[in-house]
């Protein structure tokens, strides 16, 4: 890493933090239903949507009805994506004449996009028609993100309301999230991306004759090249903003047509963390104390920044195996240095590692460099950020409700220490909330560890590995960590497009999304019924530096206790091996 990368990362944090308050305030107004600026244009559209759908926006739901509406809506969306992929051969907007997607792959992709994971077992340019990408995937990019935001808002209502059973109207929350937040932001970002050279067209791929002849992967002579096309910019904008991460092309944002310039890269990586960070402010505003929101954001940064630094260090040092041979890994004003395998030179090490940390801290999962080819510790960082439960920024909405569950656990533990009934924002935390919180915290690690154990126990699971030694195990652990926390990034060498992994990972993605939302909504319903207790001398303040450290500490502790043994078998063993192999 050189001085350029340091400047870029500093600028990144400054701009991100500067945008938190304005966007957070805007979103708070949207969810309150107060004028936000865009309502003059969009209010008629919103009303029309309610009228056509038969939704009465003022009729509110109990947590059970909220959960049923959410599940049904996501199930129907999931089936629609499955159907479109299976039928794409007969549908329009398929200039490459791609055939139907196989059943297991179509199911995996449908679950993947409906659960806001966007795990990609397929390669966009060679598997999916433009129609499948647009109708199937783009729509879920919006709606799965909106679902996460809706559940968050319902949870916040549970914290702020007293002695009521209702936590809001799911249809209204989803509609507002999409119409006022995701769609306008995507539009602005997409235009910026097109200006940088991201493709946005509906024509077929362009065949060209290259300047010189060469040989293809099979050793046959070729002098043609196919330049892919498609409506990429519109999908990329929402995949970044909605923490979706499903790329238009196979290699995601490493592809020069998906992410052509350092500026497009900067905007895309900013978009990953933008909404999750701003939602912290929205939370503070909605609970009437913005310090509560800043506290949560500070906890996230307290975990994020050190892990980012570790990743930057590991990748800048580079690969000692190659340094032996005379490869220059030193950063200078001429080259970014470090480990460049799987990275693009227009990004270099700094912007690639920043992205890898942002995309796994948030449950985005898009990549601009291949995590599989990172150094062992460089690859440990994204893996650990996912394993922490996707609460350091996390998915839009889902990250923050996840962190709020950890906050409940934090006040519970603090309460145990001093022997008082714990409370959070004036709500008593009792046995029911703790049972549900335990479910939310335990389900993803269970899925990840049991899934990994299952996969390494079968030939079909082990056969997919493409790297020898501990890195092979890391590939499997990474895949389950990604699916089991709805991230979607991969150690992409793992051969996952087969019935075994398509099914296993579909189950993991489905479970870690919807089995968490239900207990979260249950807590919201239970809290909404309680009355607010006044602050007393025994109340643990939850807006102090002490609480920032306590919360971050508990997130790290739970993650570390759960995953250190598995990490020791994968990236840590690999790191030690790399050091000993290249020792003189």
């Amino acid at each position: 890493m050189n001085i350029y990368a340091a400047i870029e990362i500093a600028v990144f944090f400054v701009i991100l933090l500067a945008l938190v308050k304005p966007l957070g305030l805007y979103m708070a107004r949207v969810y309150r239903g107060t004028p936000c600026g865009l309502n003059q244009v969009l209010l008629p559209v919103e009303r029309l949507i309610y009228r056509l759908s038969g939704v009465r926006p003022d009729s509110e739901m109990t947590w059970q009805r909220y959960a049923v509406a959410m599940l049904l809506f996501n199930l129907i969306g999931l089936l629609a994506v499955y159907g479109i992929q299976r039928a794409q051969g007969w549908l329009p907007l398929n200039p490459q004449h791609l055939g139907p997607v196989s059943p297991d792959l179509a199911l995996n992709t449908a679950v993947s996009f409906a659960s806001n994971t966007n795990w990609q077992a397929y390669s966009g340019e060679s598997t999916l028609s433009y129609l499948s990408q647009m109708l199937g995937l783009t729509v879920q990019n919006f709606l799965s993100a909106a679902t996460g935001m809706a559940v968050l808002v319902a949870f916040i209502r549970g914290l702020t309301r007293q002695k009521v059973a209702e936590i809001g109207n799911f249809w209204v929350d989803v509609t507002r999230s999409t119409l006022y937040i995701l769609l306008p932001l995507s539009f602005v970002l997409a235009i910026a991306l097109v200006s940088q050279g991201v493709v946005q067209s509906f024509g077929p791929a362009v065949d060209i004759t290259t300047v010189t002849a060469s040989t293809d992967a099979e050793g046959k002579p070729v002098q043609t090249q196919q330049i892919p096309q498609g409506p990429a910019a519109s999908q990329i904008a929402i995949k970044q903003l909605g923490t979706n991460g499903g790329g238009f092309f196979g290699v995601n944002s490493a592809h020069p047509l998906e992410n052509p310039t350092p500026l497009s890269n900067f905007l895309q990586v900013l978009a990953i963390l933008l909404i999750p960070a701003a939602l912290c402010y929205t939370f503070g505003d909605l609970v009437g104390d913005t310090r509560q929101g800043w506290t949560l954001l500070a906890s996230m940064l307290l975990v994020f920044v050190p892990l980012l630094a570790l990743g930057l260090w590991a990748e800048s040092v580079g690969n000692p195996q190659l340094a032996d041979l005379g490869v220059d890994a030193n950063a200078s004003l001429q080259q970014s240095g470090g480990n460049l395998e799987g990275k693009e030179v227009r990004f270099g090490v700094g912007a690639s590692v920043l992205w890898s940390a942002a995309t796994t801290a948030a449950s985005n999962g898009s990549v601009n460099a291949m995590h599989d080819s990172f150094t062992p510790l460089g690859g440990l960082v994204p893996m650990l950020l996912m394993q922490l439960g996707e609460v350091i920024f996390g998915g839009v909405g889902s990250g923050l409700y996840g962190l709020l569950i950890f906050a409940i656990v934090a006040v519970f533990i603090a309460g145990l220490m001093v022997g008082r009934t714990p409370e959070y924002l004036g709500k008593k935390i009792e046995a029911f909330e703790m049972k549900m919180a335990a479910l939310v915290i335990l389900i993803p690690p269970t899925i990840v560890l049991a899934g990994t154990a299952f996969a390494v126990s079968f030939d079909a699971g082990r056969a997919a590995v493409t790297n020898p030694g501990p890195h092979g195990f890391s590939q499997i652990l990474y895949a389950l960590s990604s699916a089991g926390n709805n991230n979607g990034s991969a150690f992409a060498g793992l051969g996952v497009n087969n019935v075994f992994y398509n099914s296993l990972l579909a189950i993991a993605m489905f479970g870690s999304r919807f089995w968490l939302i239900i207990p979260v909504l249950a807590i919201a319903g239970s809290l909404a019924r309680k009355k607010q207790v006044p602050i007393s001398a025994g109340t643990l303040p939850t807006h102090t530096p002490l609480f920032v450290v306590l919360l971050a500490g508990i997130v790290v502790l739970v993650g570390a206790l759960t995953f250190v043994p598995a990490l020791a078998l994968g990236p840590i063993a690999e790191h030690l091996q790399l050091l000993s192999d290249s020792a003189p």
Binding site: Y4, E8, S53, G54, V55, V68, A69, L72, F73, S123, V139, W171, L183, I191, V194, S195, G197, V198, S201, A205, I208, V211, T212, S214, A217, Q226, I227, P231, V251, A254, H255, P256, P262, N319, L322, L325, G326, D328, Q334, Q335, S336, G337, E341, G342, K343, V345, R346, F347, N368, M370, S373, F374, P376, T466, P468, G469, H471, S474, A492, G493
Partner: protein, 339 residues
């Protein structure tokens, strides 16, 4: 429940209309009017209007007179982007890097400063001793059986060579079958290690390589004691035995493959490293003075190098296709000196 179903279906339908029809369509219009060439992949046309490439997609260049792009795990296939996805500790990665370096790397210091390492690799190889044991090729094959197997699969000539060997070495093949009872009908690549072990014994200091004998147009595999195969495949083993040799440092992006396999850029450091080769070749074809041509191309490189965000966000990089088209334009169609 019915109300939920109705709301679900309508909301899904309306989202499709808004987010999947209206939103991309408006963007399409903006893209096609305001940023027309960008939105279609930034195609480059020659003087006759024929498309010769896309600015953002790397093309393969292997000839000496052109700058070479970064290695691609997908052979620059625009329809299937991809990366090696090899871990840092995967020997395949180290091997690929070593093979690229062997034929081109030079001494940085010492008595041979500035000279290629390759002739020394060949001389060392011909002595056929590695780590105090004879049989370099046999040791290479048994240490890296995947590489030996890949060698057999890489070229039909290699497979044919193994098949010929099989016919004259029924004892070795029988022994292999005895050791591997689960595979009674081995394919040539299965026998790779046994083949190299026996080859190494019979041809010390040699490696089977594709050559075109004089007076013939057909390439065939023959045991050779020099050439690019030996320089590339055995550079790593040579290096292990010569850890103190002071070698030139190679810019990382020259040997490490990109994430997309289509990275259109190289660093200026990489381009500068390639400058001597490129200049020498153009000077030869255009019958010009090497130093003059080198200076010209260096200027061309400087004016083509772009530092992202005006130098704020990264190191200067060069678009390989653009610089090569500029070279072609400058030297292949006009005589030197004609500006």
């Amino acid at each position: 429940m019915l109300a939920n179903l109705r709301a679900s279906l309508w909301l899904l339908g309306l989202t499709v209309l808004l987010c999947c029809v209206a939103y991309p369509a408006v963007l399409l219009v903006v893209g096609q009017t305001v940023f027309r060439s960008n939105a279609e992949g930034d195609l480059i046309r020659d003087r006759d209007g024929k498309v010769v490439g896309a600015r953002l997609i790397a093309q393969p260049f292997t000839e000496d007179q052109y700058f070479h792009p970064r290695p691609s795990a997908v052979s620059y296939n625009g329809a299937a982007s991809g990366a090696s996805n090899w871990g840092a500790n995967n020997y395949l990665l180290r091997d690929r890097v070593a093979r690229t370096l062997g034929p081109i790397v030079k001494y940085r210091g010492g008595p041979n400063k500035g000279q290629l390492v390759a002739p020394d690799i060949e001389k060392w190889f011909q002595q056929d001793r590695y780590q105090d044991n004879s049989g370099i090729v046999a040791q290479w094959a048994s240490a890296h059986s995947t590489l030996a197997t890949n060698w057999v699969k890489a070229d039909p000539l290699n497979a044919a060579f193994v098949i010929t060997w099989q016919e004259g070495h029924s004892d070795d093949v029988a022994q292999w079958k005895k050791d591997n009872p689960s595979n009674p009908e081995p394919k040539p690549e299965d026998l790779a290690v046994a083949f190299f072990t026996s080859f190494s014994k019979e041809n010390p200091g040699k490696f089977p390589s594709g050559v075109t004998p004089e007076g013939s147009t057909d390439k065939k595999s023959e045991p050779v004691s020099e050439g690019s195969d030996i320089q590339s495949i055995f550079f790593d083993m040579w290096r292990q035995e010569h850890p103190d040799a002071d070698l030139e440092q190679i810019p990382g992006d020259m040997v490490m493959a990109s994430g997309s396999g289509l990275d259109p850029h190289i660093t200026l450091a990489n381009a500068t490293y390639q400058l001597d080769r490129v200049a020498a070749k153009w000077a030869e074809t255009s019958k010009g003075d090497v130093a003059t041509v080198r200076n010209e191309i260096q200027k061309l490189l400087k004016s083509n190098a772009r530092a992202p965000l005006g130098g704020l966000a990264g190191v200067p990089i060069v678009n390989v296709l653009e610089i090569n088209l500029a070279l072609k334009d400058r030297y292949s169609e006009r005589p030197l000196g004609d500006k």
